[in-house]
Symmetry: C2
Subunit: 364 residues, 2 copies
């Protein structure tokens, strides 16, 4: 294998502290051999160390031999943002992965078409919401879920913070909510999927996913910033589970919200979430209670949808302080391949009335 | 359980964007119920929602019912830095965990005393280094490891980026290096522990750790930013493994390097790494090729060592561009309970001579 004949991984960085050429030199070594360049054998200098492809003002592009990123998502994350995450003033602004490398990833099992088929929702946005607030007992959460399922929402997830609290233990809560959603689906003829939060210890993750499926859960909420991106990939690739997966951005914010440091929003919440198997990727919508700009949200949408080897496109899922009166604006902005996540606002007034109004508004 | 009788988790935040009181109001709701406060039942407002304990200029302290963080490290990370990680201009500057909550965590199995006993190193810093560079075949890496083991280093880890690359596959590399270190120990009468990088897929993690132990590895390198903090805790708690664990900061940098956003260095690399079972916590030393300041490094050292319920203290492990001529300065700065991590500089000139000189310098 020589540096000349392989398709290479290309990463673009914006450098806002220090000299761009010097930082690029540091990056191409730091992300590969972590060793004085001049002491490395010549073939390692040429084949293993990253190669500077371009420097234009403070933007640099470094390419890597895909062999460097061998071993799956864990090592891809290292190559992209392992030690460089510790550099101030460096941000990943571009990522190009060759098809030959992408072929090693399955990506979202369902993606846009698969989830539309599963939900019998051939057109229009998906309607998603969360059962909450924390503190409510399993029966109470189940009743909330049932009301929303009857109204025709597509996905009803646990609030991601529902874990194993004294007010609602994980196993009982999952079982009770799944039962309520199942009954509501049957009564109302809807297709709602209940999605428990896999906010569980690492040694429980796979078993908990299977227990949830056995209890009737139709999808899974995963927290890759907490559980690891490859743990999500493991769940997505599990043929015995074969459930849609929604990724929550918990603990990942610092990677994107500092404009001169981190990873561009679309690369993290679009590309990397797809590689790690997320059918749906949650992020805070612009104009909500968080900080993302319209341009950042548009980048996420684009990188959820754009071709990526043979990997399925995914659903961008803007959430965080969404309200009924923004439905038109959001379907205009995101298009129809979007999973709208409506939260607490649904509970102001009568939940059943609000949920029904939301579904009606979107169907119109 | 009422808000009055439980020991509470206290988190201090520095707010540099927006009004501190308003941000504190948002945080105490966002990290718990994610629901309009006024719509929550009164008992949930009082018992489940966080409580503002103090506001002083732009510093706020919010306390949480430990029940909110029920379910282990995954939910503790959510409560501390789940959604708030998406807030610009907020940084965690303080964390107080009650002993009753800490009792749910085992922490580092060995800690400072346990690792000294295991290594028969009753005094002085530990000497650690990495086998590198990537691209070297298993035999070549094994020979490097053997030279270092013979010189009397305590810990010989894989470079964290060694995964399953074409030049050195994980299983063969681990076996070959472990054999070399074992033989070198026997020949030289030293106690070096070989520590493979568990940079492996999530569904291989636990098995890989056990395979490494069976092959002769004496410790494990874990990447909690990639594999998840609770995955590290799982390995640390495994009584059938019972190996010392070193945590690498890969992919975690954005959480600390932006001064007005993120988590204070000591809380992440000291407190949270200890909770998640790291006996040794690697971070970039001041004055090396990264960016941490002396004050930030001192904070890490302090929070590795300070009492934390019944949880063992851990070894701060400053690395990143360390050189021989800084040994005196570093033992002065960190004291003797430090695991010095020397990297590529050891290879400039003759490795055996340099390694020997390093051990001699430290013993003197």
């Amino acid at each position: 294998m020589t540096a000349e004949v392989v398709d290479r991984i290309e990463v673009s960085y914006r450098v806002s502290i220090g000299n761009a050429a010097e930082v690029a030199e540091a990056i191409r070594v730091e992300q590969t051999i972590e060793f004085p360049f001049d002491l490395a054998p010549e073939w390692i200098q040429e084949t293993v160390v990253g190669r500077i492809e371009n420097i234009s003002e403070n933007n640099v592009t470094v390419s890597y031999n895909p062999g460097v990123a061998g071993g799956g998502i864990t090592q891809l994350l290292n190559v992209l943002w392992g030690n460089v995450s510790l550099f101030p003033g460096v941000r990943i602004t571009g990522l190009r992965l060759p098809d030959s490398y992408l072929a090693g990833f399955r990506g979202p099992r369902f993606g846009i078409k698969g989830l539309r088929d599963l939900l019998n929702a051939p057109t229009g946005p998906l309607m998603c919401t969360a059962v909450k607030p924390m503190g409510t007992d399993p029966q109470g959460l189940g009743e909330i879920a049932a009301i929303i399922a009857r109204a025709g929402f597509h996905i009803i997830k646990d609030d991601h913070g529902l874990a194993d609290q004294p007010w609602a233990r994980w196993t009982e809560r999952t079982r009770v909510i799944a039962e309520h959603v199942k009954q509501a689906r049957q009564e109302a003829g809807t297709n709602a999927l209940y999605m428990p939060s896999l906010n569980v210890p690492a040694d429980r993750l796979l078993d908990a996913a299977h227990e949830a499926k056995a209890a009737g859960a139709g999808a899974l909420l995963v927290l890759p910033g907490v559980s690891g991106f490859d743990a999500m990939r493991m769940l997505a690739d599990d043929d015995a589970l074969a459930l849609p997966i929604m990724a929550h951005p918990s603990f990942l914010g610092s990677n994107v919200v500092n404009p001169d440091q981190g990873i561009d929003h679309g690369i993290l919440f679009g590309t990397l979430m797809r590689l790690a198997g997320a059918d749906i990727s949650i992020f805070p919508n612009y104009g909500g209670r968080f900080s993302f700009s319209p341009a950042e949200c548009a980048q996420i949408k684009d990188l959820c949808h754009t071709p990526l080897g043979s990997i399925n496109p995914s659903w961008p899922s803007p959430g965080g302080g969404m309200t009924l009166d923004r439905l038109d604006e959001l379907t205009e902005f995101y298009g129809s391949d979007v999973a709208l996540l409506i939260g607490g606002a649904l509970h102001r007034g009568d939940l059943a009335t609000n949920a029904r109004a939301m579904v009606d508004a979107l169907s119109a």
